[in-house]
Amino acid sequence: MKIAVCAKYVPEATAARRIDPSTKRLDRSGEGALNPFDANAVEEALKLKDAAGEAEVVIVSVGPAKALEAMRRALAMGADRVVLVSDEAAAGSDLVATSRILAAALEREGADLVLFGQQANDGDGAVLWAAVADRLQRPLISQVAELEHADGKVRGKRQTEFGYDVIEAPLPAVIAVSDAINVPRYPALKGIMGAKKKPQETLSLADLGVPAEEAGEAGSRTTVRALNEPPARGDTQKIEDDGSAAETIVAFLQERKAL
């Protein structure tokens, strides 16, 4: 069985993140790491591998060359291989362009199962899997908090606004896991030491047969127009309780349509 895990390289340290005023996008020039939510997907893949006894877990990522080092964490956890699509023409890709590139890389791998994490913590979206599933023409189960695999099928339990659903799909399929699904393992020391030796492949867009016009800003269909200060939260009010605080709160909630 081959399981592909789509992982993203995201800028580190939330405290230090900045938007680059010249590109109006997140400044990705600093250091980065494996998107923490993708660790859940890696962990789920490794669990499936442990249960199956034998499987190949491949990490697929689209990002800058330095992403390779961050992906090593997944290798240290136990993944077998990394495939990184790194191409200058891919920078600035939106959902449409990224899903196209990722789908091309995944087609090349021909995995039985494609896993995604809950979201990228750099605010760049929590819907990539649906776009990729459509391009690959595979069934999709998203927000999975419990995953079972048997007899060529997968079953995912997920939380929705109305309760929980259980959805079944035959392999090959695309699954997006929620962060409630597992607690990612710590890499064992041996794993960390062995990570560098595992195969790490870097591909260009040409290797995938994706023309440069279909990637990056050229291949995107959305734009960033301007950056603004957030709208004022509105005046913050502070009152002292003189016995009528409860009434004041209720009036406030009603006025703001929260009650």
């Binding site: 959805i167 734009t223 960033v224």
Partner: protein
Amino acid sequence: MRFLVFLEHHEGRLQNDSLGVLGKAASLGDAEAVLLGTEVEGLAADAGRFGAQRVHVMDDVLLDKPLPQPRVDALETLLGEGAFDAVLFAASVLSADVAAGLAARLDAGLNYDLTDLAVEDGELVGKRPALGDSIYVDVGWSADPRLALFRSGTFEPAESGGKAEVQKLESRLQDFSLAATMVEQAHEESEGPSIEDADVIVAGGRGLGGPEGFAAVEELAKALGGAVAATRAVVDAGWYPYSAQVGQTGKTVSPKLYVAVGISGAIQHKVGMQSSSLIVAINKDPNAPIFEYADLGVVGDLNEILPKLTELVRARRAA
């Protein structure tokens, strides 16, 4: 501008979030809606009242379950005629997957997590927060149709009392779209809403004085129909379970209403709830950091305020 709004429904009722988006669309241009499912035609009238001029209905047993992929096929057919400038969705577990799948299918731009939409110089512009809501970005599209996914609860529905024309939609659904099947649907969990999904959260901190303090917090949460959350400090002290912890090392929540009781509001807590639409704080320390970002801050004794507040809320809701 011609908008198509994806309307969601559950157990025979149209969902408020998507009705809100419909109203917004109607305010910006010509709004039409699409209803996909089984036995949904009856809802078309409601769609009209909330702003739709026309409702496209596909009533098919294959659309009975709220699964995204067959809906992408149906929308592709509807949009094939090229009549719409934009397709709008209110975010939900279902609609996010539909919107993204549709974006890939049509090679169309999808902007998500939007909190507002406007027409500026004849162009459609979306507004969305970024970097933990510390900055706002104006986003646009470079192709037709423009797909937009709005943060849940962004727009309140507004009845305009109109009537909608109903148009039947027929579409072939692809094999791979029908491969995923619903085995169990919408089972309620025995506990109330998880804090991540709750619209209302009442959170307790050290000011409660002890685990018994949570009894009043739970009462208020019940009265408001919300969930209970806790700060790291009280979870550490064993007053409430870790599953309720909100903050840097707990959960991140963004409910419509967050009532912080006896919480000082240090940044480790703030980062877990700062995107709440409305924050009300009750604390006896006037210098508590939470007062810097609470929409309504009340300096007072929570032991006196909470019971009264709970009673008043119950009364209002019963009325």
